[in-house]
Amino acid sequence: MTEAAGRAGTFDPVVWEPRRGRVMAGLRTYGLVAGMWIRSTMAYRTSFVLTAFGNFAMTALDFVAILLMFSRVDALGGWSLPEVAFLYGLSGVSFGLADLAIGSMERLGQRVRDGTLDTLLVRPAPVLAQVAGDRFGLRRLGRVVQGLMVLGYALVVVDIDWTPAKVLLLPVALLSGAGIFCAVFVAAGAFQFAAQDASEVANAFTYGGTTMLQYPPTVFALDLVRGATFVVPLAFVNWLPAGYVLDRPYPLDLPGWVAFTPPLAAAACCALAGLAWRAGLRSYRSTGS
């Protein structure tokens, strides 16, 4: 038997890999791609240090602006500085984690425009995982670190009656918040299949969203709060859980247990974002543009 015929007759076992475990396959791919980008980053260490610091400084100035406001007033929308810092910390860390994980998805439109998305489609791995890991930017750790510092400061100075439920709610809220922001990033990515030049719309919901959540809900018009609760459920990132932890009433009339539902909101958001992604990819594969 010649080598060619022999190879043709045998089957690579990986081809028969069962279809279940797509999530695992996705995570594995994501890890591989992100790992490559981290190695690439380390090829330019100075640039990495500079941009990581820049990332930190950029977000830190947001908080400096809040500090400047509180140098002139004692409360904003009825919330004190430690309370606003608590909001800021929760939102900053959640958004920072999502931004670190898949913030580069905003470049998807670019890949669609120049045709390089095709090179990802011929690989035996989920496209979403490849796009999510694409241009993984370790420098975005700067944002996470800044958020953690403000959260740490808030936890030291804020006055909370700690209960086991409140302690437990904190990490749950952080992770759920990251999940909600990840869903927003993915949905925005899916939108770029339809409008490649419109990547900036995503900023309104991502950067705009986290900016909004840095301030108490009492500051905003009720319609805006409703939108952020029921339409794009950003309120579940920090407003609702923080309201419970700080014993602050929410501007909308919602039952108390809603504070514990961020994981459900995150799951629903991720499911919807996944559907949007599938629709986007399907339209790309039928139009090629």
Partner: protein, 268 residues
Amino acid sequence: MGAGSWRLYVAVAAGGFRRYATYRVATAAGVFTNTVFGLILVYTYLALWDEKPQLGGYDQAQATTYVWLGQALLAALAIGGGGMENELMERIRTGDIAVDLYRPADLQLRWLAEDVGRALFQLLGRGLLPFVFGSLFFPVALPREVSVWAAFLLAVALAMLVGFALRYLVALSAFWLLDGTGVSQMAWIAGLFCSGMLLPLNVFPGAFGEVVRVLPWSSLLQGPADVLLGEADPLGVFAFQAAWAVALLAVGRLVQSVATRRVVVQGG
């Protein structure tokens, strides 16, 4: 400078305007995003001025006007990046700049013309709509006198000059630095914070506020805003802006001549 070369720069500016005008979807996306950011910011300002009326000498209507003015000027003045500097840096990095040096037009003036064209489009195409939206749905303090509007437009034009001069210097750093990301990021951060985009500079407390208000970035947003809101003597603002524009453009010329001498010595 003869009439012929003026025509050249006008053509370059018109080209810059048209180049950005072709990105309709991106422009619409930008209008949307600026409007959303304006909405978020305006409520935080309203809360702030609720607590402390007359903060920084503004009343609440003036504060909301300031927010929407900021969103209108953000892209036009490229305060958060997005002007000609990325392209210029790329040309320096790839060495294409050597070609530009042999062109008949002056390097700095040509890029200025290009950037003015871009800024005019961003002002009309991207800045105007969020401003109109804000004026319709929020209490704003807009002047009735045509002369104030004219003075405001002059202040915006001077702001464009200062903004360009700052970003031109940032871009020229690419002659010495292999990777300009760090520098442009720092410039971007300084621009956003020191221009008053996050918070009006007259709200900044004490000596810190004194310092920030004399830095060149205050020409970008704070200057035009104070002219429009009638909070500052227009002539004083013009003089301040013009002084920074002349100084920064001169430094830009100096740096440019040092840098291009390097290029010529290295043979491109």
